[in-house]
Symmetry: C4
Subunit: 291 residues, 4 copies
């Protein structure tokens, strides 16, 4: 498993530094093939979950009043742990700055900065700023992203379907604007909550996505009739992106199964007969069991 | 990229007029291959979004009272811009009338007419007419349709699946009518809102599309039981059109990938071995990367 | 188009009677290939829609009071029309009884019987019986089923996926029973509407199908947590039947494209190399354009 | 049909005991190929449904008061029947203990134990314990699992797609945590119910799964705007697992259709040309009709 190519979204050009200890640390911290590396990942994952739980529970008044000191202790324990982790990551890569500005580097910084900043704010500071800062720590949940080695296939499928999904979103956007305005015309003066177009458009989104809160609902017969058409339209139109994406995943799955025996390049598509990189004839390989 | 065939839904037979300036304008206004053409599209798109935002915000009383003059200025600026655009489009095509009655020509007219009409209506006119006129401007959002060059594949897939989707819609229609009537029989006298069959049918649509406002909900045990069956039915039946459309998109995607090397005709279907136009043997080509 | 086999669900063994007029009537009434046959279908479809609209509007008190006599006239006009249609169908087929007990024969009877029965009921009869009788007429909507010539492919796909869909429905049924009971245990005494297990199960169905009326909603923290898990489960599990059905439609679509050149039998499956009926080698044909 | 391999999830290594009567009982109780075996299954299924109905109805106060003795009789009749069934199963298998600790063995125990335990609890015991015990009987519904011989294909497809579904669930989890916190920041002080982060996260789940109770709904313009984005995101993202699962079912369906004529091993994948177990050339077989 050593030489398999890194998933695309992790290819930030990170390499361990030249020293032996850097290489050893790198294996533990950035990889998950060794027992130590796996243990490191598990501890970190547990810390993330604990931290998120603490941030969430702190917002509940009754829990905050009863368990405040414990939550504070957890908070600082996790902040110190994440700080140590961040420093260790910076120490063992060849180019620390490059890691620092990468996506996961920025997530690491956002995970620890708010706690330290709150220390330096005088008590008289606006509560709103401190509160927002504290809540920023919820982005620690993004640290989980490191464990998504399967995300690559999905991102590729999404990128391929993006132009068609854009068409779909534009159609949805136009429909929502026009239907929202229409409902404002029909229901605007019935006092049923369609008070202005932005609110009507909000209702159209709530309805077309089949969420349906019911805080705003048509009351006139014509409004109900129009609403019924909008619902059927919203219910039916979800099949369009589903079909597009299904087709893409399937053709992507076949394509991924075939690799050039000569150069290791993936087949350019599911039906490719020759390698697009070196021109060698592709043998047919199959996906799951033969790996 | 000059000679690629236009997407089907834009094939309105438009050609630039004979003069050189007409050709130059046409390239900027109707095409997006040159830097000037792209800039024109971006400016227009921004104007559309700004205009829609103005129409929507104008309907909010507090914003209208505070920012009325600004909204009026934006409104007239955009109306003049769209008028100039429409005149320019008419000027540079060979057959202006043909453009004027095309789909996008009519959208252009609807985008500017309401503002001018409102000018000529005396102040004493019914507010409802003026209000409707002003709101008609929301159809400007359809001007975005020009940018949907990917829409063609989707329209083809929809056209192919239409007969089967019709079957699905008929089944849904019959189910809704019968189930709505049934619920009127069961819940009609429980005072829970199933006051007449049209309302019950409206409720059946709200339920089967899984929108579920909750403004009308069954209260009797038998009504709840029947409602539960309707929900499960509505939840399960969405798989039918999704499956149909997925299959169509996938076979469409394969079909689009293969073209005749002799005459350029698309393969009649994904499994076609010979060109349906000239009879030449089709080579297999693949979709995305080899283009 | 004369000799194409009838869709499966219409194969009730109906044949026109021996007389020439029976054959001529049969063509008009049961087929849609001649102009007269098409006109007959269109008139009938319009009558069905008008009749359903009348039944629905009659249930609205204000409309019934204002337009009662008109609705009654429409009602009797349509009843007489449908009676004439039914008699004509019986007259022109070779075995009238066989038609009378077929699905569409029974629909025809249910469409006209209630009106006649209501005539013979004395005025003092229970209003509930008359009301139910009148509403039975809504089943006239099923007369539309005759026009669903595309339904066959869908029914075949549904029949093939039925064993797997049954697994899915059993899993859903077990989940709903267990989750509903669980929520009764958690929320039963919080006064939030989970008063007994049938109600909790009803709530579980409303939630898992993502309808979400909101008439019953958890209020305790543990209840909200359990509800969130149920929602995520219901949201995720719909992918199972969708995937199954998509796969079936796709393989069905391919299979339908190949027919035996020797005997006209459809290929037994998409990959069949020999006709399952006569053993002749199957040529590959393609679906849409070559028909 | 005697020698077909058992579905995977039933492969608990059960064998009938050495005596002839054990073999005969085993055929009736564990298999469904003989008329007696089928009859046994039907009786058991009816008993399960009756039992679940009794548990559910017992929770409704009015029914419990009116029909209490009947429900108690049904309860004990079914408990004795299930006890006899469990003893018979233990008696006829070669290794009773192994059955006792298998999944269905445990379900059998849970189905009868609560009734017996309730007998031995003194009347003064906490009602909550007895109530929970009685409700545990609802797990009898799992006894239905025995009849899901088709479940195997679905479980295989789920196992194959699990890594990708995990990615999807992680993305959903992160989105819900971040969006819930965001909404708490925006709406937290508007009094619209977003009182703390756990509640906001609960709302985010209710919204993203399109359930939409409406017990908590944004009231500020910014909150409505953010909610609209969350809805569109939740509506769009369901296409991802649907596409993944559709692709898997389809490739699974093809793979399952081909078996090695030499050794009976299933083809390793849909495109396999040689048996992955014995190397014999695979003939192409087709799925449904030729079995």
């Amino acid at each position: 498993m050593d030489h398999r190519p890194q998933p695309e979204y992790l290819e930030t050009g990170l390499r361990p530094g030249p020293h032996a200890w850097q290489h050893a640390w790198y294996e533990v911290i950035f990889e998950a093939e060794t027992p130590a590396g796996k243990a490191f990942d598990v501890v970190l994952l547990a810390a993330i979950v604990l931290s998120i739980a603490a941030v969430m529970l702190e917002s509940v008044r009754s829990i905050r009043e009863a368990w405040g000191p414990l939550l504070l202790a957890i908070e600082w324990g996790i902040t110190l742990l994440f700080t140590a982790e961040f420093v260790a990551r910076l120490a063992c890569v060849a180019r620390p700055l490059r890691y620092g500005v990468s996506f996961f580097g920025l997530v690491d910084i956002v995970s620890i900065l708010p706690s330290y900043l709150a220390l330096f704010l005088p008590g008289g500071q606006s509560f709103a700023i401190i509160r927002t800062l504290r809540l920023l720590r919820v982005f620690r949940v993004l640290k989980m992203g490191r464990h998504l080695s399967e995300a690559n296939t999905l991102l590729t499928a999404l990128r391929h379907t993006w132009p068609k999904i854009t068409v779909f979103l534009t159609v949805i956007f136009c429909s929502i604007v026009i239907l929202g305005t229409l409902m404002y015309l029909i229901e605007g003066r019935s006092g049923s909550g369609f008070d202005d177009i932005p609110t009507s458009v909000y209702w159209a989104i709530v309805t077309m996505t089949t969420v349906g809160y019911g805080d705003i609902a048509p009351v006139t017969p014509l409004g109900k009739f129009a609403a019924a058409l909008i619902m059927l339209f919203g219910y039916a139109i979800i099949i369009v992106p589903t079909g597009i994406f299904s087709a893409e995943v399937m053709s992507g799955a076949r394509s991924a199964a075939t690799k050039c025996a000569a150069c290791g390049q993936r087949a350019s598509s599911a039906d490719a007969k020759f390698c697009s990189a070196c021109g060698a004839k592709l043998e047919e390989r199959t996906a799951d069991e033969r790996r």
